[in-house]
């Protein structure tokens, strides 16, 4: 549903956000409307290509900033008049690609070699939660990228290796991140508080001033472009977060169970293993604490930053929204970097134990990464990854054999070009129960309520005005069975069946 809404917010030329409120105003003939009106709502047309004013206006009345929708509109504008999953998927792929590059750079900054970046990329690919977010038509993959980028910049500040370009990047990252999702503010605030505390502790007044200056630059630039953030947050036009529950013992239990399941997949044993790894790291570190240099201490401080900011973000967002999987994207980002660092650090610490005779080999670049990858495989369940690869293989096979990946039900408009469509609606829904993209492909469209259908079925009166074109298809809830003489079953899905009208009225 939210995926459909992404296309509508990006491409709808009209001033309303929801179809059902305006449906009765569309010009019609006995209830039949031109289906192209529906299509205009989700596919960019020749007349509104690269028209960002409409996108901006929709976001003013929605509760999200406009960057993601502007990106989707740009891609939709490249192929006007058509809808494609790729319009949103390409934005996600771009976000993922950029996030991977930033992860490689982050781990190069932390460990001195780009190869170490393979570990967090593997963690990212192995997390079931992240796989959902990467394939979902919303802005969360882009948000994930901005969060990792913000961490890369702060790795520089914490490690005391910041360059001039880091300050410029910080302005840019805050500007774009805050225009992607408001929860970027929450994560950035947590990271920033930790960094400021460190700068105050180390009495780095000049750095602190520069840092604050760049932060203010990024924020003001974002607010100049999109001042509606204040109205969304303080006026709360969509009444979000009005039913915030207080914390209780039960809520804490549910909250911890959410963390357990979402971060490492089902299974408490993986957490036991992770805590075990942490203990091993603590034990190994204790043995050589005195020898730790400034760089190593800073490295550890960055890991703490990840832990603290991830936790602060999680508690804040869980308080506001509970366990909604995508709202916690930034927690996953912090966790991916944190767990990868823990794996690499533990392996490195074990290698430095004096008792280990093969420590020289152990500490070598490739061996450390390989061992960490084994850790990723165990922690994030190799079976999950295998299942993922199997599914990818079956899709590739279908493409090679030119078999359809999508079922006939969802491709019905391809089988019935220039047909009209009658839809029996069980309850009012702004996206026609996710059939909107199919309905927009027909010639004429009409909807009738299930109550009307139960009263008199589909008779001459209902079909009058809709018998132009090649023919008629009917989307009917599966609990109804029309007479077999007039309606031929074409395809079925969970709750609906599609029938082709084969009665005599078209002759």
């Amino acid at each position: 549903m939210d995926g459909i809404f992404s296309y509508m917010l990006a491409n709808n030329p009209y001033d309303h956000l929801f179809l059902d409120g305006k449906y009765h105003e569309f010009p019609n003939d006995n209830g039949w409307i031109d289906a192209h009106i529906l299509k205009e709502h989700y596919a960019a047309q020749d007349y509104d290509r690269f028209d960002y004013a409409a996108v901006y206006n929709h976001q003013r009345y929605d509760v999200h900033p406009p960057l993601y929708y502007a990106a989707v509109h740009t891609l939709s504008s490249l192929t006007p008049g058509t809808y494609s999953n790729l319009h949103t998927m390409l934005v996600n792929l771009l976000g993922l690609f950029l996030a991977d590059i930033v992860l490689l750079r982050l781990f190069k900054r932390l460990y001195g070699g780009s190869g170490y970046g393979i570990v967090p990329i593997m963690v990212l690919m192995s997390m079931g939660t992240m796989r959902f977010i990467l394939t979902w038509a919303r802005m969360y993959t882009l948000l994930f990228f901005f969060c990792i980028w913000y961490l890369l910049i702060h790795a520089g500040f914490i490690m005391r290796e910041q360059k001039k370009t880091d300050y410029v990047q910080m302005v840019l990252c805050i500007f774009l991140g805050t225009l992607t999702h408001y929860y970027f503010y929450v994560f950035a605030a947590a990271v920033t508080l930790f960094t400021i505390a460190d700068m105050i502790r180390t009495k780095s007044a000049r750095e602190l001033l520069r840092y604050l200056y760049c932060g203010i630059m990024g924020l003001t630039a974002s607010w100049i472009v999109y001042p509606w953030v204040f109205f969304h947050i303080f006026e709360n036009p969509q009444n979000k977060h009005t039913d915030i529950e207080g914390w209780s013992v039960e809520r804490v239990t549910v909250c911890l169970a959410y963390l357990r399941d979402r971060l490492l997949g089902d299974g408490t044993w993986k957490w036991v293993l992770l805590v075990g790894l942490w203990c091993v790291w603590l034990f190994a570190r204790k043995k050589k604490r005195e020898m730790a240099g400034e760089r190593e201490r800073r490295h550890l401080l960055f890991r703490r930053l990840l832990f603290v900011s991830g936790l602060l973000y999680y508690v804040t967002i869980y308080t506001l929204d509970g366990g909604v999987i995508y709202y916690h994207t930034l927690l996953y980002a912090a966790f991916i970097v944190w767990v990868s660092m823990l794996l690499l650090d533990t392996i490195s610490q074990i290698g430095r134990l004096p008792a280990l005779s093969c420590r020289k080999q152990w500490n070598r670049y490739a061996a450390g990464i390989a061992a960490a990858l084994v850790g990723v495989w165990v922690l994030f369940s190799g079976a999950e990854i295998e299942r993922y690869l199997d599914r990818a293989g079956s899709v590739l096979h279908a493409i090679r054999e030119e078999e359809p990946i999508i079922s006939d039900f969802w491709r019905a408009p391809d089988f019935f070009p220039n047909y009209n469509c009658l839809y029996v609606e069980t309850e009012q829904d702004p996206f026609f129960h996710n059939f909107l993209f199919s309905f927009g492909e027909y010639r004429l469209f009409k909807k009738m309520s299930a109550e009307e259908y139960e009263l008199h079925g589909i008779g001459r009166k209902e079909l009058s005005g809709g018998l132009e074109g090649e023919g008629l298809v009917v989307y009917l809830p599966k609990k109804y069975e029309p007479n077999e003489e007039d309606y031929k079953l074409f395809a079925k899905d969970g709750d609906y069946r599609i029938y082709e009208y084969v009665g005599g009225m078209f002759e």
């Binding site: 709808n12 030329p13 009209y14 001033d15 309303h16 305006k22 105003e25 569309f26 010009p27 031109d34 192209h36 009106i37 205009e40 047309q45 020749d46 007349y47 509104d48 028209d51 004013a53 409409a54 901006y56 206006n57 929709h58 003013r60 200056y213 203010i216 630059m217 924020l219 003001t220 630039a221 607010w223 100049i224 472009v225 001042p227 509606w228 204040f230 109205f231």
Partner: protein, 107 residues
Amino acid sequence: MNYFVVLRKQAYLGVLMIMVCACLGSIRGAWKENQEGYIGVTQEDLERMGEAGVSAPKMIGVMGLAAEQNRWYHFGYAYHYAWRGFVCYCVLMVFYCLFYHRKGKRE
């Protein structure tokens, strides 16, 4: 010290003042836009009605177009406030110059 040299040297402060003022202007513009009513169908839409289905949305003239509903007050206000920020910066630097000059003389 030459006033213009001070202006250039303290440019980072000027940029900060301009940005903060522009930001305040943008919020004020948005506030004003928020108070004003819905625009709906415009005269231009009615004139373009004949093109519907060719180079205009099918419902043009019947339903308001989203792109036409923006008044963009916030950008206008941001621009004007940015200039005010610049003037404030110039005035502040006059005082700074005087102070700097006196301090220089005393030393």
